[in-house]
C-alpha cells in the first residue's frame, strides 16, 4: 500500500510541478514557433504515457502485493497483446517523428532572400561581419588573421572590401528580414546561442556552419556560448538586438567597412572617438 501510494504521489507531484512550474521557455523571437509546438506535442504524448504506465505499476503493486497463499499466474507469452503494444508504440513514435522531420526540412532549407551574416567566435568573445552594398560577404581564412585583420578577411577579394566588421559590439538584426547566420570559429568549438531564437548551431574551426531564421519580435537578447570552449565558456556573453527596419537602417549607416578599417586607420580611430 505504502509503495503504491508513493508511486501515485510521484506521478501526481510530477504533473502538478509541470503545470505550476514558473520555469518555462523564453518568449520566442523568431519564426521557429514550430519548435515550441513540437516540444508541447512531445510533452503531451510522453506525459500521457508516463502517467498511464506509472499508475498501472502502482495498481499492480497495490493489487498483487505478496500475500501468504496467493499464487502468481503462469503466462510466459501473449502474442496478441505484444503485437498490440508494438503497433501502438510505433504509432506514437511516428506521431512524433513525422511532424519533427517535416519541420526539420524547413530548418535545413534556407530561403532565397535570406541575408548572409557572419558570426565569428573566439575565446571568449563574438564578432560579426555583414555584407556591404554589394550584398555579398568576401572570403576569409583563419590563416589571414592578424592584428590588423581580426577576422582574416581576404584583402584581395573585392567582395570583402565593403564588408562591415563589428568587433566587440552588439549585433543588430532587422525584424522580418530572414537571415542566414554563417558561423565561423577562430580557435575551438563554440555555439552561438540565443535562447529566444531557438535555432542554434556549433561553430567549428576549419569549416563554415549555418542556421537560418526570421526575427519576428523587436527586443534585446542575451547571447551565450553553448559548446564548451575552455575556462571562459560560461562568461562568453554578448547582446543581439532585433530592430525595426528604420532603427536598423540608422544603425547600419553608422558602421565602418573592412576597407575603411584596413586602408585608413584614422577613419577607424576618429569613428571610434565620435561614438
Amino acid at each position: 500500500m505504502g509503495v503504491a501510494l508513493a508511486l501515485v504521489i510521484i506521478v501526481i507531484g510530477s504533473v502538478i510541478f509541470h503545470l505550476l512550474s514558473p520555469w518555462w521557455w523564453t518568449p520566442i523571437a523568431t519564426n521557429w514557433g514550430f519548435m515550441d509546438d513540437m516540444i508541447s506535442l512531445t510533452f503531451w504524448i510522453t506525459g500521457v504515457v508516463y502517467v498511464v504506465i506509472l499508475l498501472f505499476v502502482a495498481y499492480c503493486v497495490y493489487k498483487f502485493q505478496y500475500r501468504e497463499g496467493r499464487v502468481a499466474a503462469y503466462e510466459p507469452e501473449n502474442n496478441k497483446l505484444e503485437t498490440w503494444l508494438t503497433v501502438l508504440t510505433s504509432l506514437g513514435v511516428a506521431a512524433l517523428l513525422a511532424p519533427g522531420l517535416f519541420v526539420w526540412f524547413q530548418f535545413v532549407t534556407v530561403p532565397e532572400d535570406a541575408t548572409e551574416i557572419e558570426v565569428v567566435g573566439q575565446q571568449w568573445s563574438w564578432s560579426y561581419r555583414l555584407p556591404g552594398a554589394d550584398g555579398k560577404l568576401g572570403t576569409a581564412d583563419n590563416r589571414l588573421i592578424s592584428d590588423d585583420n581580426i577576422l582574416g578577411i581576404n584583402p584581395d577579394d573585392p567582395y570583402g572590401q565593403d564588408d562591415i566588421v563589428i568587433d566587440g559590439d552588439d549585433l543588430h538584426l532587422a525584424v522580418g528580414q530572414p537571415v542566414k547566420m554563417l558561423l565561423r570559429s577562430v580557435d575551438v568549438l563554440h555555439d552561438y546561442y540565443v535562447p529566444e531564437f531557438r535555432a542554434k548551431m556549433d561553430m567549428v574551426p576549419g569549416m563554415i556552419t549555418y542556421f537560418w531564421m526570421e526575427p519576428t519580435r523587436v527586443g534585446t537578447y542575451d547571447v551565450l556560448c553553448a559548446e564548451l570552449c575552455g575556462i571562459g565558456h560560461g562568461y562568453m556573453s554578448g547582446i543581439v538586438l532585433i530592430d525595426t527596419a528604420e532603427d536598423y537602417a540608422v544603425w547600419i549607416g553608422e558602421q565602418i567597412t573592412f576597407a575603411e578599417m584596413s586602408t585608413n586607420k584614422d577613419i577607424k580611430l576618429t569613428d571610434l572617438v565620435d561614438r
Binding site: F64, L97, V186
Partner: protein
C-alpha cells in the same frame, strides 16, 4: 492459460568435450591477489570500481556546491569546476558503470549462471583486472600532476581539449586521461573476449542460448557492443595523443589561439566527434543492457512470476544492441555535420524507442498477476522502472532532431542522461547488490537499512533530476559554473538550483548508510543459506555458499528448463530450478 504437458524432461545433450582442469591456487597471493578465479576478480573489479565511483560522487557534490551556492566557495574556480565535471562524467560512465557491470557482475555471474567452472581464459581474465587497475591509477595520478586533470568535458572535444584555454590541455592532464582510456580499453578487451567466449562455449549441458537468464543476455550483448565500439575510442585517443604530442593534425584545423597562429592545419574536429560517439552511443547501451537483463531477473524472482515475453525480451536486447550502432550522430545534431544526416539519425533513434518501450511493458506485465515481495531488490527495480521510463521519454525529445535544436547543450540534456543512464542503472546496481550479496558473502544485507537507503536514494535522485529538466527548458546551458546575469534567467532558477543541491547532498550522504550496511552485514547479517530468494537460476543451486573454487562441486549441473519457472501450476514449490529435472515440464522452456 498455458497448456502444461507432463512429458519427459526436455533433452540434455551428451557431453561432447571433457572438462578442462582448472588452475588451482596454492598460496594467498595467487588465491586472493593475482587470482584467476572469476569470482575473486569480480570482487576486485567491483571494489576498485566502487572506490573510484565514490571519488566521482564527491566530485558531483563539489559541482553541486558550486551550482547551488555560487561564489561561496573560493576554492572552486572555473578551472577546477570544469575539472570536476570532466572527471565526474568520465569516471561514472567508464570506470564505474562499465567496469562494474561487465567486470564486476559479468565476472561473478556469467560462469555461475551458465553453469561453467570459470571463465574460458582465467589468466587473461586476471590480466584484464590488473590493467584496469593500472588505468584507474593513471586516472587518479592526473589529479596530482601540475595543472591538474583535464577539464575538457568527458567528451574531450578537440581542439579545446589539447589547447591552453582548457585546464590540463597543454599539461599532463589530457595526456594521462588519454593514456588511461587506452589502458582501460586494452584491459576491457581481455575481459570482454572472456565473457563472450564463456557464454558461447562454456555453457553446461542443456543450457541452450534460449535458456540463458536475461542477466546473461544483457551482459553478453553489452560485451559484444563494447568489443565493437571501444576500438573507435581507442583510435580516437591515439590520434589525439599524436595531435597533442607530435603535432599531427588529425583533429586540428588551422587555427589562431589568442592571437597566435598555430602550426596545426587540415584536420577535422568533427571526425573526432564521429569516432567518439560511434563509441559513445553504444556505451549508453553497454551500461543499459546489463541493467535491463539484471532488472528482468530481479523482477521475475521477487514477483514469483515468469518474465513476460522472454523471447521478445531477448530479441529486444539484441535488436537494441544492433540499432545502437546506427544512432550515434543524434549526439551531433548541432555539431555542424551535414544537415541531411538529421533525417536519418532522428529516424533510427526514434525506432530504437520501440523495442525499448516493449521491454518496459514486459517488466510491468511481469508484475501483473504476480505475488510481489516488496523487498529491497524489488524496490530498487521499481525505482528503475520509474527513472528509466522518465529518462526514456525525455529521450524522445532529444532524439527528434528539431526538438533537440533548442534543448541541446542545456541542463535538459544533463537531466535526461542522468536519469536514464545514471540514476536508472545505479538503482539496478544497488538492487543487484542486495540480491546477490547473500550468494557472494553467505549473509543477508540488513533490510531495514536497505529500505531507508532505497527511499532516500530514489526519491532524492528524482528530486534532483526531475526539476533539472525545467532549468534546461528556461534555457540555462550546461557546463556553466554559474548562471551569470543573462536577462532570460529569473532569480528563481538560483533557488531551484540550491534545492537541487541540497537533495544531492542528502542522496550522497545516504550512500554512507549503504557502505555501512555492506560492512556490518559481512559479520552480523542473517545467514543466507544457499537460495534465500528461492530463485531458479544456477548460481543459487551451488553446493557451497559462497560458491567454492570451480563453482559446482564434483558434477556440473544439467539444465532442463528455462530460468523463469516460477509458480508453475502443479509444481509442489513456487519455483523450479533450472537443474530440476521434473516431474513437471512446463512446456515453455524455449
Amino acid at each position: 492459460m498455458v497448456e502444461i504437458e507432463s512429458t519427459s524432461p526436455a533433452s540434455v545433450p551428451p557431453a561432447e568435450v571433457e572438462e578442462v582442469e582448472l588452475y588451482h591456487a596454492t598460496n594467498f597471493w595467487t588465491k586472493y591477489v593475482f587470482s584467476q578465479d572469476a569470482k575473486i576478480i569480480a570482487i576486485q573489479y567491483s571494489g576498485v570500481a566502487i572506490s573510484i565511483g565514490l571519488v566521482a560522487l564527491v566530485l558531483s557534490s563539489l559541482i553541486r556546491l558550486q551550482l547551488g551556492f555560487p561564489e561561496m566557495f573560493d576554492f572552486i574556480t572555473p578551472e577546477s569546476y570544469y575539472q570536476f565535471v570532466t572527471m565526474h562524467g568520465m569516471i561514472m560512465v567508464v570506470y564505474l558503470l562499465t567496469a562494474l557491470f561487465l567486470g564486476g557482475f559479468g565476472n561473478y555471474l556469467i560462469p555461475l549462471m551458465v553453469g561453467a567452472r570459470d571463465m574460458a581464459f582465467p589468466y587473461v581474465n586476471m590480466l584484464s583486472f590488473w590493467i584496469y587497475f593500472l588505468a584507474v591509477l593513471v586516472l587518479v595520478a592526473s589529479f596530482f600532476v601540475p595543472g591538474g586533470p583535464t577539464g575538457a568535458g568527458w567528451t574531450l572535444y578537440p581542439p579545446q581539449a589539447i589547447l591552453s584555454g582548457t585546464p590540463g590541455g597543454t599539461g599532463l592532464g589530457i595526456i594521462l586521461m588519454l593514456v588511461s582510456l587506452a589502458l582501460f580499453i586494452v584491459g576491457f578487451t581481455m575481459g570482454g573476449l572472456n565473457y563472450v567466449v564463456t557464454v558461447l562455449q562454456g555453457r553446461t549441458r542443456g543450457m541452450t542460448m534460449m535458456r540463458l537468464p536475461l542477466t546473461v543476455w544483457g551482459i553478453f550483448t553489452a560485451t559484444v557492443l563494447a568489443l565493437l565500439a571501444f576500438p573507435a575510442l581507442l583510435v580516437a585517443t591515439v590520434m589525439m595523443l599524436f595531435d597533442r604530442l607530435l603535432e599531427t593534425s588529425f583533429f586540428m584545423p588551422s587555427l589562431v589561439e589568442f592571437g597566435d597562429q598555430l602550426s596545426y592545419g587540415g584536420g577535422s574536429p568533427i571526425l573526432f566527434q564521429h569516432l567518439f560517439w560511434f563509441f559513445g552511443h553504444p556505451e549508453v547501451y553497454i551500461v543499459a543492457l546489463p541493467a535491463f537483463g539484471i532488472v528482468s531477473d530481479l523482477i521475475s524472482t521477487h514477483a514469483r512470476k515468469n518474465i513476460f515475453g522472454y523471447r521478445m525480451m531477448v530479441w529486444a536486447i539484441v535488436g537494441i544492441g544492433a540499432l545502437s550502432f546506427i544512432v550515434w550522430a543524434h549526439h551531433m545534431y548541432v555539431s555542424g555535420m551535414h544537415p541531411y544526416f538529421g533525417f536519418f539519425f532522428a529516424t533510427t533513434t526514434l525506432i530504437i524507442a520501440v523495442p525499448t518501450a516493449l521491454k518496459v511493458y514486459n517488466w510491468i506485465l511481469t508484475l501483473w498477476n504476480g505475488n510481489i515481495h516488496l523487498n529491497t531488490p524489488m524496490l530498487f527495480s521499481l525505482g528503475f522502472i520509474v527513472t528509466f521510463l522518465n529518462g526514456g521519454l525525455t529521450g524522445l525529445f532529444l532524439g527528434n532532431v528539431i526538438v533537440d535544436i533548442p534543448l541541446s547543450d542545456t541542463m535538459f540534456v544533463v537531466a535526461h542522461f542522468h536519469m536514464v543512464m545514471g540514476v536508472a542503472p545505479i538503482l539496478v546496481v544497488l538492487g543487484a547488490i542486495y540480491h546477490w550479496y547473500p550468494k557472494i558473502t553467505g549473509r543477508m544485507l540488513d533490510e531495514g537499512f536497505g529500505k531507508i537507503h532505497f527511499w532516500v536514494t530514489f526519491v532524492g535522485s528524482y528530486l534532483i533530476f526531475f526539476p533539472m529538466h525545467y532549468v534546461g527548458l528556461v534555457g540555462v546551458p550546461r557546463r556553466y559554473p554559474e548562471l551569470g546575469d543573462a536577462a532570460f534567467i529569473p532569480d528563481s532558477v538560483a533557488t531551484l538550483n540550491s534545492f537541487i543541491s541540497i537533495a544531492a547532498f542528502i542522496v550522497g550522504i545516504a550512500q554512507i548508510l549503504f557502505l555501512y550496511n555492506l560492512f556490518w552485514s559481512l559479520r552480523n547479517g542473517r545467514l543466507a543459506g544457499a537460495n534465500p530468494w528461492r530463485a531458479t537460476t544456477l548460481e543459487w543451486q551451488t553446493p557451497e555458499t559462497p560458491p567454492g573454487h570451480g563453482n559446482f562441486g564434483p558434477e556440473l549441473p544439467l539444465v532442463y528448463r528455462w530460468p523463469y519457472d516460477y509458480s508453475v501450476p502443479g509444481a509442489s514449490e513456487d519455483f523450479l530450478a533450472q537443474n530440476d529435472p521434473g516431474p513437471i515440464d512446463s512446456g515453455n522452456s524455449p
